[in-house]
Amino acid sequence: MPEERRGLWDEADLVRRLLRALEVAERALKALGLEGYADPENPEVDVRPEKVISETALLLLAAHRVREPNARRRVHHLAGLLAPFARGERVRAGICLEPQLARDHAFAHTCLSVIGYRDDDLDRLLSASLQDQASSGHERLAHRDLEQEWLARLQNQHSALRCEDDRLPARSMLGTGLDPVGCRRDDIYAFTHALIYFTDIGSRRHQLPRPVTAIVEEAESALARCLDDEDYDLGGEVLLTWPLLHQRWTPTASFGFVALATVEDAAGFLPAPIIKVDRYRSLTGEARSRYVLATTYHTAYVMGLLCACILGSGCGPDSPLPHSFAGRGASEALFGLLEQEGRARHWQATFTGLDPSQREDLAPMLLNMSLRRATRAVDLPAVRSALEIGAAYGLTSTASARRSAALLRRASNAAVRV
């Protein structure tokens, strides 16, 4: 079999996408950093200023590891703009009054400190608040506990202080595992955030609670679901798996990045369902500008975060996508199954634009999508059809196939008892 020459995604293109996200960050910070945004016509559009400030800080933390000069200049410019928001009176009052949330209030301050913008007064206030007995008086989900430990590591990186719970990663999605077929959006969110915090956004290589191959396989299932749902916010976060874990990008992951980049280029930004063009058209001036930023900044940040992590890790998607030399036809059979459903998804146009030999390596992704759609619709015959195609082409060793087969067995047993 000939050895295929594989290249990585163009670095200049990644930098361009990152710089666009950083430009959005500057505008978002100025427009939303003080008061946030609430749309009187749609209560779903409700952005708190703290969220904008914290997410800007996270983006900067990832971007400051990128060595490209323009990106570095932009990061330092933004850090200067962020500091008054990150260390204002509201933040100081929060740290003082709510010791149990002190690290959350100090999130942006902590990120700025790591970038090199310190504030010793605020550090002292934070330390005093954390010494209060009340600082441990708050119960959190496992991935949120991982976030607290990560923030503690960032705060204490210049000292020997460490007090981590070794069992915590095993209790998070990194240890328990993501249901590749039936998981909910919240589960994927918990998975991606656990990864971000556990790896210190890719800068810490620590023993994972399970084999990395199992975690990557679950990420592939989650990515297939996000692409098929056109959920680019979460899809972008799932793609972080590869650079954060310093893993070689699989064909599915590389395809996922191509799909997101294609959507970003077509729309001019990576969109989320919350932005409504009719509402945008009904507004003018500053109200219109604030509405657009409030409904788009987050996914723009996700794309920027992803590009920053790829650039920072040196671990990027393949370009062009790899060619399979197997040529067995699994991809065609599964795509035919997915095409039977009326509405075409964005990824389908990207997929059909590929060479047939490139599509073949995406058969596991197509099987994941088929199983997910069928399970969501509680269409057990469709689950069976997808599994039969998977079995015919030797694709059923995946976790999603095993879970789906188990679902069919349970359903069959339940039917017998009734």
Binding site: V24, R27, P43, A266, A267, P271, K276, Y280, V292
Partner: protein, 87 residues
């Protein structure tokens, strides 16, 4: 008696019927009120606590199973917004 009928006493059934007949429960108003919070409530509300089971509810609101998917706008339409976002 079926399992469903066993869940309500005769008096409880009468109460439900009276509530419906007298229009004491304004379903239109409830629908309008809930529609304001529907999408966020779908992800924010906890399951009800059934441990004690001492409560009797005469109005129940059910959430649809699974997650509600809100479709994206067409990418070509969103291109119009891009100019505003990037200045």
């Amino acid at each position: 008696m079926s399992a469903d009928k066993a869940k309500l006493s005769e008096t409880e059934r009468e109460i439900v019927k009276t509530l419906l007949d007298t229009a004491a429960v304004d379903f239109k108003a409830i629908g309008e009120a809930l529609s304001r919070y529907g999408p966020s409530a779908a992800t924010a509300l906890d399951f009800e606590d059934v441990f004690c089971g001492t409560m009797r509810r005469f109005v129940r609101v059910f959430r649809l199973a699974g997650e509600v998917q809100v479709p994206l706008e067409e990418l070509a339409r969103l291109r119009e917004v891009s100019g505003e976002l990037h200045g």
